[in-house]
């Protein structure tokens, strides 16, 4: 026997599966994301009324689409009637609503995949602040509720709700065309889409606290959206590269913290806990990116570095010279002192602390790193290994002053004591 709430949960699950495609198709029809969301919601309400008796239809996606489409037509008929009345009263308002109803009938039969891609590009539009792109993408494409997004970002629910409402308003007011950009604009807009997905991923990945189940779910959601995107834009090497990066990083999720939730460094992780299936998927996605000629894209290079770690069965098997070379290319593609610092760490593993220190000293006065505690921590580590203990102590103390993480501060002060 199934209770009514079980049936409702099952129907909502089906609706959630169909929701992104439903909203994407509806947005192209009605050119308004908020209205599209309302119509999709209407379709759910009707499904909750009908399906418990009739059963879930064979093709629920088509059923929901048809139902929402009828609601849209009703909506525009009402609007037209209201507008006609206004005209009769003599306000003389011109309207294009009749044409809209004509086109509604065919609009939803086109390729749904294209609509989904349009929706991704729209919700990641650079006109929106980054945090709004993230919230809107999780809402529209990930099907997360406002409450779930708020929990994931440790924010108040009204804050996220406001953010989403404002984002939709901005898109409507700026008259952003619902389309996949072409030509030179495409690359720039795609970079924004990938940036949003990786931001979502990192929000979940960098949270080591792990007391809230929503945070790891962000990693899963970003990876899933990445896989969807790879299907929709199969010729874009950086899409596959980002998927590779996320799959490989996800493979370590189970090995990154100890039983108490304390982080475990890469070199100390139990590699038997790395998820080999995700590693294989990641390596395959990276190979795809490279086949498409994208080996030197920023995500491909980061994925290739992650792959070097993933391939090493033991920490001492790591191909450090290759990682050094990859960081060198990455630093050329996207110059940044933080990447140089990472390259220095790789150099210390490949060639020793003296060579690494030479590179660190070329970036240590970079204003961007002035308050970056890792710079001093890494420099202290090199000096300590070279036996320059007094200088090392000063660097560890400075790093300890700059970090906001208590556990890290204790660690650094202990190292300062030891020299």
């Amino acid at each position: 026997m199934t209770s009514q709430s079980d049936t409702h949960r099952a129907i909502t699950a089906v609706w959630k599966l169909e929701q992104p495609r439903l909203i994407a198709g509806l947005t192209r029809m009605v050119r308004d994301i908020s209205l599209a969301e309302e119509l999709a919601q209407d379709a759910l309400v009707i499904a909750l009324k009908t399906w418990p008796d009739s059963g879930v239809p064979k093709n629920p996606g088509a059923w929901l689409t048809q139902t929402a489409k009828r609601r849209a037509i009703d909506y525009f008929r009402h609007k037209k009637m209201a507008a006609t009345k206004l005209v009769e009263v003599g306000h003389g308002i011109e309207t294009d609503i009749p044409d809209q109803i004509e086109t509604l009938h065919d609009a939803m039969d086109d390729d749904v995949g294209d609509d989904l891609l349009r929706l991704i590009f729209t919700s990641c539009h650079p006109i929106l602040p980054a945090e709004s792109r993230v919230a809107l993408t999780l809402r529209l494409l990930g099907g997360l509720t406002t409450e779930e997004i708020a929990r994931a970002f440790l924010a108040a629910e009204p804050t996220i709700g406001q953010r989403i409402v404002r984002a939709k308003k901005t898109i409507a007011e700026a008259n952003i065309p619902f389309e996949v950009p072409r030509g030179p604009e495409r690359a720039e807009r795609l970079a924004s889409v990938l940036g949003v997905l990786y931001l979502i991923f990192n929000e979940g990945y960098s949270a080591t606290a792990g007391d809230d189940w929503m945070r790891p779910q962000l990693c899963e959601e970003a990876t899933r959206l990445g896989r969807v995107l790879a299907r929709l834009a199969p010729d874009e090497p950086e899409v596959h590269a980002l998927v590779a990066l996320m799959e490989i990083q996800s493979s370590r999720l189970g090995a990154r913290t100890d039983a108490k939730g304390h982080p475990i460094l890469l070199q100390d992780q139990d590699r038997a806990h790395w998820d080999q299936l995700l590693i294989r998927r990641g390596l395959a996605a990276l190979a795809r990116a490279e086949e498409l000629g994208g080996a030197n894209g920023p995500y491909a290079l980061q994925a290739a570095i992650a792959a070097c770690h993933a391939r090493a069965r033991h920490a001492q098997d790591t191909d450090w010279p290759r990682i050094v070379a990859l960081y060198a290319t990455l630093a050329q593609v996207t110059p940044s002192p933080v990447i140089e610092l990472n390259r220095a760490v790789a150099i210390s593993m490949a060639e020793g602390p003296a060579a690494a220190l030479v590179l660190i000293d070329t970036i240590k006065d970079d204003p961007a790193l002035k308050n970056y505690h890792l710079l001093y921590g890494v420099r202290g580590d090199m000096l300590s290994k070279l036996g320059r203990h007094t200088e090392a102590m000063l660097e560890f103390r400075r790093a300890a002053q700059l970090t906001h993480n208590e556990r890290e501060k204790t660690y650094l002060l202990n190292r300062a004591e030891a020299g």
Partner: protein, 122 residues
């Protein structure tokens, strides 16, 4: 969360009879839908149990039995591994599998490393 959808063998799969072209196409379409939605991690079909071997472990002793095995309903002929948000979503995907001739599947949730960590602490 991950789920494994286990497909039970049938007399046809045990006899090594391949699915019809239309059944095959329907399954392709289903798999494509799983990939499009970003949920499919892995799927495979298994050869008949006549190609299989059983090993039973009793202390020092290992008994090896070659297939085929009887009791078809307890045998497997394939699996999907999917990554979804909820048990309901997993069920919704199961309901869409293009079977209509008495086939049976079993949906099982997969342990994640986090589950072991919790057990280790407890």
């Amino acid at each position: 969360m991950r789920f494994m959808i286990l497909v039970k063998a049938t007399p046809e799969t045990e006899a090594g009879i391949m699915p019809t072209a239309s059944a095959f196409a329907a399954m392709e379409e289903y798999n494509e839908a799983l990939i499009d939605a970003g949920v499919l991690l892995h799927c495979e079909g298994l050869m008949a149990s006549s190609q299989g071997t059983r090993l039973r472990f009793d202390g020092e002793r290992i008994t090896v039995t070659e297939g085929p095995f009887t009791q078809t309903r307890e045998l497997l002929c394939g699996f999907w591994l999917i990554d979804v948000k909820s048990h309901e979503e997993a069920l919704a995907w199961c309901r869409r599998i293009p079977f209509d001739n008495g086939e049976e599947i079993e949906l099982r949730q997969v342990f994640e490393t986090a589950d072991f960590a919790v057990n280790a602490v407890a």
